[in-house]
Each structure stands twice: as structure tokens, then as C-alpha cells.
């Protein structure tokens, strides 16, 4: 008998009290739903993110790229990493200035590791959505915007459309049918990277970006 068969056959012995009825997860979350509108979800997300040192800016489809470049200029950034063949990357490139260089992530990492770690100040990625209840951004890395973009640069800009903010994690998973196709990495980012492992002393940037800047993109006329 193979290891697989032996393991499964042992597990088929009724060692725990059998519970064959599927837990009513949908029922629980349905009964606890807040039924918030976009503005309320945005407000809750904003409060949760601001509480953990995240910088937020309200933007529109027209002005987000200029706002990003202004924020980057104030911070003294010289290079921003962008994805390849993304609509937002192209929009940012269209208003590129001489002071800030936009670097597309268009090569395998092996050929430019030194530049990524030492020669890039910041990065921009698009969030797939967000979770208001926990103040979490949902990042869904793709070949166009690989995982290293939200991990290596010290400052991470995230563009988030407010109509993709869900009330809670269950709502996000079900509304977006996550179980139908998961990426290699699915990330929930709840602020800049921080750790308090050592002597319970809070330190930023140990395992990822030390600054998180969120551009909350509103549809025209609804900017808070």
C-alpha cells in the first residue's frame, strides 16, 4: 500500500466525532453584514490604515498620476518601479518628469538584482481590492506586476479604486470567486512592514516596505 493510501486509510478511521453538516459560514456573515455604501467602506478602510501609519491621498482617474508624482517629489524620490503593459503604468509614463525616472519591471530579476535592491526608491502597483473591516489591501501579483514590486522597494505606492473595497474578507473572497483561480501569491497588506519580534520594540521596514502610500481613486464627482 502506498504512503498516500496508508495515510488516507488511517484518516478514514472515525477518530473524531463526525460532523457531516457543512458549517453555515454564509449564514453567519449574512447575519452580521453592515450593508455599508462605498463612502462608509472607504471611511472604515481609511481609519484602519491611518491607525497603522499608512499615508492616504484621495485622487481621481484624471489626477492620480500627478498627485503621485507630487508626493514622490516631496519625498525626494528619484526612481519609481512600475509594471509592464498596465494601463496605470502607461498613464504614469505619459506625465513623467525629468526629476523622477520610471523603471519598468521588464526583465527577469537575475539580470538586475543590484539595481532593484539599491537603485529603486519606490514602486507602484494596483490593488485588486481591499477589506474595510481589517484595513487590508488585496494585492494579486501578476507577471506584469510581480511580487517583488511590493516587497523590495522601501516605499510602496498602491492605487486602489474605492468601488473595489469590500466590507469583510468573506465578502471579498465570495464576490470575486477566489476559489475559482488563485495566483501563486495573494497578499493582504495592512500597513507598512513592521515587526516587534525583538523585545516587543516596533521597527518598520524589516520585512518589506517601510512606507505605504495609498492612492484612493474615486470615480468622478465622489471624491471625499
Amino acid at each position: 500500500m502506498s504512503a498516500r493510501e496508508q495515510i488516507l486509510s488511517r484518516l478514514r478511521q472515525p477518530l473524531v466525532a463526525a460532523q457531516h453538516v457543512s458549517p453555515d459560514v454564509a449564514g453567519w456573515f449574512g447575519a452580521h453584514r453592515r450593508s455599508e455604501d462605498v463612502a462608509q467602506r472607504t471611511a472604515r478602510l481609511r481609519a484602519a490604515l491611518e491607525a497603522v501609519h499608512t499615508e492616504l491621498h484621495d485622487v481621481t482617474h484624471d489626477d492620480w498620476s500627478s498627485v503621485l508624482l507630487q508626493v514622490a517629489a516631496v519625498k525626494g524620490l528619484r526612481q519609481i518601479l512600475i509594471g509592464t503593459n498596465t494601463p496605470h503604468g502607461a498613464q504614469l509614463q505619459a506625465c513623467q518628469t525629468d526629476d523622477i525616472k520610471l523603471i519598468p519591471y521588464d526583465r527577469p530579476i537575475d539580470s538586475w538584482q543590484d539595481l532593484l535592491f539599491d537603485g529603486v526608491d519606490a514602486s507602484l502597483t494596483l490593488a485588486r481590492g481591499a477589506v474595510a473591516e481589517t484595513g487590508s489591501l488585496i494585492l494579486w501579483p501578476t507577471p506584469s506586476e510581480p511580487r517583488l514590486m511590493s516587497l523590495v522597494p522601501s516605499i510602496h505606492f498602491v492605487l486602489l479604486d474605492v468601488d473595489t473595497i469590500h466590507e469583510d474578507f468573506y465578502a471579498a473572497m465570495t464576490a470575486e470567486s477566489w476559489s475559482a483561480g488563485m495566483p501563486t501569491n495573494a497578499l493582504l497588506v495592512c500597513g507598512p512592514s513592521k515587526t516587534a519580534d525583538i523585545q516587543q520594540t516596533l521597527a518598520y521596514g524589516a520585512h518589506g516596505p517601510k512606507e505605504l502610500v495609498v492612492l484612493l481613486r474615486h470615480t468622478e464627482g465622489s471624491k471625499a
Partner: protein, 94 residues
């Protein structure tokens, strides 16, 4: 000369582990760590009824998953394989 490490519990394992667990310094450390972590969790769930409901839902998911583990493992294996992951099955001990 290298020291022999026994990987299987010897006969006095229970007595020795009890003595270690009764160590006042250890008790104090565990108490401190648990109080610290539980206070942080309580702060995240100001509504105690909601927290209790979530705990019961979580327990129910765990019981259901344990009772259906063979089927869930086979489903996991099929999905992983479809995603290009190579699955190995390995047992503890002989």
C-alpha cells in the same frame, strides 16, 4: 565524544516534563506571553458576542474539516496537481 540524543521519550519523560512545566519561572513566562497576546486579540474584537460567534464558527469549520479530512486532502491534491504543483505523501515513523 558526541552526546547521544534520544528521539523517543524515555520512561521518565512524563515525570521530567511535569517538573519542567511546574517550574515557576516557566509558568510566569507563559502567563506573561499569553496575557500579552490575549489582550491584543481582545482589543481587536471589542464586541465579545461577535468574537464568541466567530470562535464557534471557527470550531465548527475545524470539526467539519477533521471529519472530512480524507476527501479534503484528495481535493487539495487534485487542485494542486492541476496548478502544476508536485504532491508527495510522506508518513511519520514506520
Amino acid at each position: 565524544m558526541s552526546k547521544v540524543i534520544h528521539l523517543h521519550p524515555t520512561e521518565d519523560f512524563k515525570a521530567r516534563s511535569k517538573a519542567v512545566l511546574d517550574n515557576p519561572g516557566q509558568r510566569k513566562n507563559f502567563r506573561g506571553a499569553m496575557d500579552f497576546l490575549q489582550a491584543k486579540r481582545r482589543a481587536q474584537f471589542p464586541d465579545q458576542d461577535e468574537l464568541q460567534g466567530l470562535r464557534e464558527l471557527g470550531a465548527s469549520i475545524r470539526r467539519y474539516s477533521l471529519a472530512n479530512l480524507p476527501r479534503l486532502l484528495e481535493q487539495l491534491e487534485a487542485k494542486l496537481t492541476a496548478n502544476g504543483v508536485h504532491v508527495h505523501w510522506a508518513q511519520n515513523g514506520p
